[in-house]
């Protein structure tokens, strides 16, 4: 079982360590959602377009602290690892195609309540919407990498691999607020907003002929030191950026305004004033308060992971134990700590369990199974969030991964 499968940006083992094989073909996919406030039931209803009732909101409200987070990712990956020099099994090359969607957010308690319950509950109060962040990226990667195996001491081997990915951006949205408050008068007579925010997004009309809205590069670094009884791993994944094209839009809001209603100038002209055709708050807001709107290239850093873990092998590698931590950067996550245990049941099956805390969510526990089919076909399937998924109404994370590989 891989321990790289939850907040992971890379799902399969990067190195082809089995010296008996020269080519490894892998297809894999995973998704996860994690939050320290949003429940699985809430997230599922949101994603599946179901109606979110008050009970669902109440279950989230119970979890809310002053600042909350959620993150999620969907990834599928097609890769080929091979030895380019048939006479040297220590050098390997790596080619992959990846499709990724990543979203994450940091939000205050008041933001959730305003967004999902409206402003009425804040009558006579000020809702604090400060320090909000939401970002979502959809992009594809063409990855080329190379790795090498170095013999360090008696039975120690050092694996080093680097990848370079060409990124093609599909869409992005990045919303941030610094100081932002919304005051609703007790009787609703006016709403006062103090907004300091920026919104950046790609060209939704797809003006670029390729329909791709951005491009960029990113890189991965993998280092593993392995002996007969242990392995120490360190990796930096997805360090890079995407430059979104010149039709991208950035809107900066730095204004305070009081909204006291749409002014009806001629009350007696009923044809125009009693029913206002096509009036909407979006256009009112945009026309009156959004002035700093720019069109131009925007550069965004991609979600990036730095991880390290240590594994001990026991009983001729039938059992292994791992501890580690990782951190996701540029994506509203906190450090994640994890530990895992694997047990090889027989030649064909291996079972693994893991415990973790951090990232976007709280404690979670998972289980996975690896099955080796004949003809060097390997299937890895599982979830690192089985515990929160079982506690569906109160659990705050979910995910699953599936990997199918064939080596020659």
């Amino acid at each position: 079982m891989s321990l790289r499968g939850q907040t992971d940006l890379e799902t399969s083992s990067h190195f082809m360590k089995d010296s008996m094989h020269s080519v490894l073909f892998n297809v894999s996919g995973n998704y996860f959602f994690g939050s320290d406030a949003l429940t699985n039931e809430f997230a599922s209803h949101y994603y599946l377009g179901k109606f979110i009732d008050e009970d669902l909101k109440d279950n989230v409200t119970k979890n809310l602290s002053s600042m909350n987070h959620f993150g999620g990712q969907a990834l599928w990956d097609l890769s080929l690892t091979f030895h380019p020099d048939t006479g040297n099994n220590k050098v390997e090359a790596y080619i992959a195609y990846r499709s990724r969607v990543h979203s994450s957010s940091r939000f205050s308690k008041d933001f959730f309540e305003i967004f999902f319950r409206g402003n009425k509950m804040f009558a006579g109060e000020t809702a604090d919407l400060s320090d909000f962040s939401f970002q979502q990226f959809t992009y594809k990667q063409f990855v080329f990498g190379i790795g090498n195996e170095f013999s360090i001491s008696g039975n120690g081997k050092l694996y080093v691999g680097v990848d370079l990915a060409i990124n093609r951006g599909v869409s992005f949205l990045d919303v941030k607020t610094s100081d932002a408050t919304l005051y609703t008068a007790a009787d609703g007579e006016f709403i006062f907003a103090d907004l300091h925010a920026s919104i950046a997004t790609d060209d939704s009309s797809g003006q670029h002929p390729s329909k791709l809205d951005g491009s960029g590069y990113s890189g991965d670094l993998y280092i593993e030191y392995e002996t007969e009884s242990s392995m120490l791993s360190f990796s930096v994944e997805n360090y890079g950026s995407i430059v979104w094209n010149k039709w991208s839009t950035t809107v900066n809001l730095d204004s305070s305004f009081s909204f006291e209603g749409i002014e009806v100038r001629d009350l007696f002209d009923l044809e125009d004033s009693v029913k206002i055709r096509g009036a909407n708050l979006d256009s009112m807001f945009y026309q009156n308060y959004v002035h700093d709107r720019k069109e131009g290239r925007v550069t965004t850093m991609l979600p990036m992971k730095i991880s390290g873990f240590y594994t001990l092998y026991f009983n001729n590698r039938i059992v292994s134990a791992t501890i580690g931590m990782d951190v996701l950067l540029n994506t509203n996550a906190s450090n994640r700590y994890f530990a895992g245990l694997t047990y090889k049941i027989n030649r064909s099956n291996q079972l693994g369990v893991n415990l973790a805390a951090g990232g976007y969510t709280t404690f979670h526990m998972g289980m996975g199974i690896t099955h080796w089919f004949p003809w060097n076909v390997k299937l890895e399937v599982g979830s690192n969030y089985l515990y929160p998924m079982i506690t569906y109404k109160s659990g705050k994370s979910q995910g699953a991964y599936l990997s199918l590989s064939k080596s020659f």
Binding site: S44, H45, Y46, Y47, L48, G49, K50, F51, I52, D53, K57, F115, F116, R117, G118, N119, K120, M121, A123, T184, D187, G188, E189, F190, I191, F259, E260, G261, I262, E263, V264, R265, D266, L267, F268, L270, E271, D272, V274, K275, R277, G278, N280, I369, H371, V381, G382, S383, M389, A400, L402
Partner: protein, 527 residues
């Protein structure tokens, strides 16, 4: 076991992944302002109809033309067409280029006792309808020697094609003479109303020689003038009278009941004479009609009604079209010399006037030097200064207006809710507003705002409003009711107001304002 495990894992991955809707859905509770408006004196009475004193007191100024004499009220020029047919008396030979017809015509415009020496044509045309019976082309020339435009006499030349054997060719056309100055003194220059012109006929110089037999038609022509309207006329305008009736409809026709007490009023009826002739005017009747109550009040004003008023003749400031120096005669009416207050307090929806203008009561004293511009003859103007200082009791204003069609496709996201109308009343009036929605057949579908009354602003010891009084109405608006409102085709407005402390008379000041704000408290469905 393996299969079961596989199925379990697949179930984890696939179950529940089907989307019910494209977007997530939930309800939010919105509380916030929707619309606001302020109604001040300038919103109720246009600036052009009001006067504001230095202390802010507002006076309503009603200034309206109540009568203008029609353009043809003093004289009218009738159409004048005359037909000439000449037959050949014997065997006649017409050589090419031969003038076979030249006939001066002196038309009498037949204006009764009006004797015009000249005129400038505002609109109208000369007409020539000719038939050519000759087997050679014929040239007709229409001349008006005494009609000039920029010093050039009027002349039109028209060629008719040769007639086919046993038949004829026809020409029928009109010639615009707008703007021409016409001397109407005839060929001798001593006559009046005489419009002289000539028509000549000539065989075409390039045509053939024509041998006429006895009885052959040589000339067959109809000529004259049609639809002549002068812009300016000079001469003696005769003696006569112009009777007229004027009607003015007032905005008060939307008042449907109640009483009003006025403090004071002044009215000025002004007669204007823009005609260069002496005149007299007689107002025989001025009545105020209230169709709602069926009451009619006649103006009683001895200095005006059935009292002959002499209007001096206007003078010219220069040759036409120089401005005219009109003369005026004004009569002031107030509560000391008329019943004008009672007449206005009856809340008339229309005023009617019977007038009679007599021209040149002393005859031709100008020696044919009267003049007129037909678009500006006699006028009567009524100006009423009504200080908005009154007491009103249950004054009811009603109106029905069509509502614009509305695209309701975007309104399905609105759920149940209430709306709150907040009124901050700066007028010392108690207001009761009711909106009644109607369908396309004017059937009532709903009613809003009642039973609720907007309270009047408090007043100081001088009966001047101080500050504003706040009143809130709650309008329950569940989805079903909202749909009825959105489908309404008309709205009937009933606004009833009374001044505080009736019959205490109160002055309206320009700083009085009624602020209205609509606050929504409703469920919004996020879709």
């Amino acid at each position: 076991m393996k299969r079961l495990l596989s199925l379990f894992i697949l179930a984890i991955l696939l179950c529940g992944c089907k989307k019910e809707n494209d977007s997530p859905q939930w309800d939010i509770a919105i509380l916030g302002p929707l619309f606001k408006t302020s109604l001040g004196v300038s919103d109720l009475v246009p600036d052009s109809l009001s006067h504001i004193d230095p202390d802010g007191a507002v006076t309503l100024v009603f200034d309206s033309n109540i009568y203008s004499t029609p353009i043809d009220s003093l004289f009218k020029i009738n159409d004048t067409l005359q037909t000439t047919i000449y037959l050949s008396p014997g065997m006649v030979i017409l050589q090419p280029g031969f003038i076979f017809y030249s006939q001066p015509n002196d038309l009498d415009l037949n204006l009764n006792n009006v004797e015009l020496s000249g005129a400038i044509v505002k609109s109208g045309h000369a007409r020539m309808f000719a038939k050519n019976h000759l087997p050679t082309p014929v040239i007709y020339t229409f001349n008006i020697p005494k009609a000039t435009l920029n010093g050039v006499p009027f002349q039109r030349v028209q060629t008719l094609a040769a007639a086919p054997s046993g038949s004829y060719t026809v020409f029928d056309s009109t010639f615009d003479i707008s703007g021409y100055t016409i001397d109407l003194t005839g060929t001798l220059g001593t006559d009046f109303n005489n419009l002289s012109y000539t028509v000549t006929g000539q065989t075409a110089p390039g045509g053939i020689t024509v041998n006429l037999q006895p009885g052959d038609t040589v000339v067959d022509i109809t000529s004259g003038f049609e639809a002549l309207i002068p812009f300016y006329a000079k001469g003696y305008l005769g003696q006569g009278s112009v009777a007229g009736t004027g009607i003015n409809y007032l905005a008060t026709r939307k008042l449907d009941g109640g009483t009003i007490l006025l403090d004071s009023i002044s009215a000025t009826l002004t007669f204007k004479n823009s005609v260069g002739a002496d005149a007299q005017v007689l107002l025989t009747k001025m009545s105020a009609f209230n169709n709602q109550t069926g009451t009619t009040i006649d103006l009683v004003a001895p200095t005006l009604v059935n009292h002959v008023l002499n209007l001096n003749r206007a003078t010219e400031s220069g040759p036409p079209p120089s401005p005219v120096n009109s003369t005026y005669y004004s009569v002031q009416l107030d509560n000391t010399n008329s019943n004008i207050i009672a007449l206005i307090e009856s809340l008339p929806d229309r005023l009617e006037y019977d007038l009679n203008f007599n021209i040149n009561p002393l005859g031709n004293v100008s020696g044919h030097h009267d003049f007129l511009y037909t678009d500006d003859l006699f006028d009567a103007n009524l100006k009423i200064n009504l200080p908005l200082r009154f007491a009103a009791n249950q004054l009811l204003f009603t109106d029905t207006q069509a509502l614009a069609a509305i695209d309701t496709s975007g309104d399905n996201n609105l759920g149940d809710g209430i709306f709150k109308l907040i009124a901050e009343n700066g007028f010392p009036y108690e207001l009761e507003i009711q909106l009644i929605t109607l369908d396309e057949n004017y059937n009532v579908t709903d009613s809003l705002f009642v039973p609720n009354t907007i309270a009047p602003a408090p007043m100081d010891g001088n009966f001047r409003a101080i500050g504003q009084k706040r009143t809130e109405f709650i309008i329950d608006l569940p989805v079903a009711r909202r749909d009825k409102l959105l489908s309404a085709k008309f709205v009937a407005i009933r606004a009833r107001f009374s001044t505080s402390g009736y019959p205490q008379i109160l002055q309206i000041y320009s700083d009085y304002v009624l602020d209205l704000k609509l606050v929504g408290d409703f469920i919004y469905h996020i879709r």
